[in-house]
């Protein structure tokens, strides 16, 4: 298993952002769905080793990120696209991706080729020398994806990767995800359910810090059938039905 989470919890003061999540995942593309504030970003940040869990166990790529040595080894094999991508406006696309290739401890000799490949894969080959300040929001998002995949990660964490991408770019991006998923564990946090349907082999749905569903996209669709749940597409109806069921269960317990 590339990802093993056991009763993982993260608190911010009195708020439990992640409330005892247990997961296991190997190679493939996994969708992490959920409404705003469900805890998706906190879960991804913990898996990206930038946010320590309050309690629970976590093994990534067969290692315990609690110790620095293994954590550094995990980070070498990790790709991470945060929800709010920061960037240095004066850097060119290639320089920005190179900067992270170097920080990811890639051998210097391999960096130029890896940078060129990553930039090409996100369709920015012709803008490699453009300053980041000149790029549109969608292009910047693709730069963020390029820096995440430059080291050919074995664990790729993408938080809202398709935000700002146009339909054509989203199609290309889904193809990229499927390709990456052949070799690595790709976890995509999103609230665009069509992305999940098109690219993910498995999906988890979070609400109020808990996993309230996990299964295949087909199983999620099945949850919505005949319930009269809101939604324009079958996946949306499944999403709405699962959330409604989870919330009524919580209300009943209360």
């Amino acid at each position: 298993m590339n990802v093993e989470l056991t009763d993982l919890t993260r608190r911010f003061g009195r708020t439990r952002a992640v409330a005892g999540v247990s997961l296991a995942a190997g190679p493939g593309v996994f969708g992490l769905l959920g409404p705003n504030g469900a805890g998706k970003t906190s879960l991804l940040r913990m898996m990206a080793t930038v946010l320590p869990p309050t309690s629970g166990g976590m093994r990534l790529l067969g290692r315990d990120p609690g110790a620095y040595g293994p954590r550094r080894e995990i980070r070498r094999r990790l790709g991470y696209l945060p929800q709010n991508l920061g960037y240095y406006p004066g850097f060119t696309v290639a320089e920005f991706v190179e900067y992270f290739a170097l920080l990811k401890d890639m051998p210097a000799g391999q960096v130029p080729r890896a940078v060129a490949t990553a930039v090409e894969r996100v369709g920015l080959g012709d803008r490699a020398r453009a300053k980041l300040r000149t790029l549109s929001g969608g292009m910047l998002r693709r730069v963020g994806i390029a820096q995440a995949i430059v080291n050919e990660p074995e664990l790729l964490l993408l938080d809202e990767p398709t935000a700002g991408l146009d339909p054509e770019q989203r199609l290309q991006f889904r193809a990229l995800l499927r390709d990456m998923g052949q070799r690595a564990t790709v976890i995509v946090s999103t609230h665009l359910v069509e992305d999940v349907g098109a690219a993910c082999t498995e999906v988890a749905l979070m609400d109020q810090g808990n996993i309230v569903f996990y299964g295949t996209p087909a199983e999620l669709i099945g949850r919505g059938e005949g319930t009269g749940a809101a939604g324009d597409a079958p996946l949306e109806r499944g999403y709405s039905a699962v959330l409604a069921a989870a919330r009524s269960a919580v209300a009943a317990r209360a």
Partner: protein, 520 residues
């Protein structure tokens, strides 16, 4: 979420150790290309031109005098420090301002390493620019024929100071990442430098000597000409500034996010080393004492630096007397011989008249610019010893509003030479000495009416009215009407009679045994 397939993590080829420096160098190169320091260099260049260079060229063309304003008083540090600290704070806050902290923390290389690359690029730009700007300024000085030797130790102090300001500013920006970090760091640095200067004006010794813009005891006119620039105080200041830089850089590595435990321990050691280094420097400075060639710190002192710099003097003749100067003052030889001619002619043949005049180094003083060294005549045969660096040399001078005329320069030398001849020492002398001095000055072309002013300019003005100087026990007092009346009587004597009287009484006069009543 469950796995569709369980697969073990792929083994990876261990990284060759030789690629690590290459990666670090590449990271530094990327940072050098995107550093903000170059944007403020035109501003610093303009400031340095107006604040460090222009005032310095009003000084005579001697390295120690030309550079005292910009290096000795630390104006180059003041020109660079606040701007560098501000830009470094801007660079240090970049990661936080741009929301890059998560991305950089999630990378394999410790965050501290990324920060060190950014700071390193900032420091390289800032220190490099400082050295280039100073190099250009020194090149201009060389083109102007400046004599002596450059104060390299003080250039090094400035370079380390710039590095320290960059490190401190960067740390401020890294720990308080907002758009206000840069102006706060710049203004804070300016305040620190102003306090450093003000404390230096007040405290002329002890720990305050370590302050980077305290100009007391740094170096004086004979430095680089008669004596080497003593490295004791520069070394202590560099220790302090390097300690501050180390501590600031080390602090960056202390937070959890900076890296692993081993790295954070290393950062703690670096911080501690910086603090110890800075504290040691302050402690060493409290042991400083004034030596003949500058401030001596016993633990850092090398006796080899006390030896005079060997030089073959350049000589001329006037009134049959050789006049020799240090070659660094070669251009003033004609002015000095011309200035001394009337005095040497007036006293020629008298007992104690100088057989030779030589330039000597003025005594080192713990305060900047406080020259209190009169000329002296000593030895057998008698030698007139001229501390030329204690007078305003002809030409432009930072101490006067307009260029010093030859006649002003000559009057200073003549007054001091006559004063030395009558044996009056550092004070105004006895009344009898004042009388003889006034008569000889008149004979050397300085009329009685002008003498009070000339004595004042030369720092030999008599004490204020009110009687003898306290505690001397000698018959001293203001050059009163009585003094000038007696001087007129002596000057009115035929030259031969005056010469004869002086020859008979000079020994008693110099010993302070002659009274007004014993004068002709």
């Amino acid at each position: 979420m469950t796995a569709t397939a369980a697969a073990p993590a792929k083994p990876r080829t261990p990284r060759a150790a030789s690629t690590v420096p290459l990666t670090a160098a590449r990271l530094l190169w990327v940072e050098l290309r995107h550093n903000a320091v170059p944007f403020i260099l035109p501003l610093i260049a303009a400031l340095m031109w107006f604040d460090s260079y222009r005032p310095s060229v009003t000084q005579p063309p001697v390295w120690a005098l030309r550079t005292f304003w910009n290096m000795g008083q630390g104006h180059t540090i003041i020109d660079f420090g606040p701007f560098v600290a501000g830009v470094a704070a801007w660079m240090g806050s970049r990661e936080g301002r741009r929301g890059m902290t998560d991305l950089i923390t999630a990378a394999a290389r410790p965050r501290w390493v990324a920060q060190l690359a950014t700071w390193g690029a900032t420091a390289i730009w800032a220190v490099g620019a400082y050295l280039v700007f100073v190099g250009v300024m020194f090149g201009v000085y060389i083109g102007q024929g400046v004599q002596g030797s450059p104060p390299w130790w003080w250039v090094a102090v400035g370079a380390v100071a710039v590095a320290a300001f960059s490190a401190a500013g960067f740390a401020v920006g890294a720990f308080f990442p907002s758009r206000f970090a840069a102006p706060l760091a710049a203004i804070g640095s300016l305040l620190v430098l102003m306090m450093s200067s003000q404390t230096g004006f007040r405290d002329k010794g002890g720990w305050a000597l370590i302050l980077p813009t305290n100009s007391n005891g740094n170096y004086q006119a004979p430095s680089g000409i008669f004596y080497p620039y003593l490295p004791d105080l520069p070394i202590a200041r560099m220790m302090l500034l390097a300690g501050i830089a180390l501590a600031a850089v080390g602090l960056l590595g202390l937070p959890d996010r900076a890296g692993g435990l081993g790295l954070r321990r290393a950062a703690a050691v670096v911080t501690l080393a910086g603090v110890v280094m800075a504290a040691t420097a302050v402690g060493l400075t409290t042991t400083a004492r004034l030596g003949p060639g500058g401030i001596v710190i016993p633990a850092l002192h090398d006796a080899a630096n006390d030896r005079q710099i060997p030089a073959t003097p350049v000589c001329g003749h006037t009134a049959g007397t050789p006049v020799c100067l240090n070659p660094a003052y070669r251009q003033y030889l004609g002015d000095v011989t011309a200035a001394l001619q009337p005095v040497l002619a007036e006293v020629a043949g008298l007992p104690g008249a100088p057989a030779r005049a030589i330039q000597v180094a003025g005594p080192y003083n713990s305060s900047e610019g406080a020259f209190d060294a009169p000329m002296a005549i000593s030895g057998h045969p008698p030698v007139l010893r001229i501390p030329l660096d204690t007078v305003n040399l002809p030409g432009t001078s930072g101490f006067t509003a307009r260029p010093v005329r030859f006649i002003d320069f000559a009057d200073q030398l003549r007054v001091l030479a006559v004063h030395a001849f009558v044996g009056a020492g550092a004070g105004p002398g006895t009344t009898a000495q004042q009388v003889v001095q006034a008569a000889l000055m008149q004979g050397a072309g300085m009329p009685f009416a002008a003498q009070p002013q000339l004595l004042g300019i030369a720092g030999l003005a008599p004490p204020p009215p009110g009687g003898p100087a306290a505690g001397t026990g000698r018959e001293v007092g203001p050059a009163s009407k009585t003094v000038y009346a007696a001087a007129r009587r002596l000057a009115a004597l035929p030259a031969a009679a005056r010469h004869t009287w002086l020859a008979a009484h000079l020994a008693a006069l110099r010993a302070g045994h002659l009274t007004l009543a014993q004068l002709p």
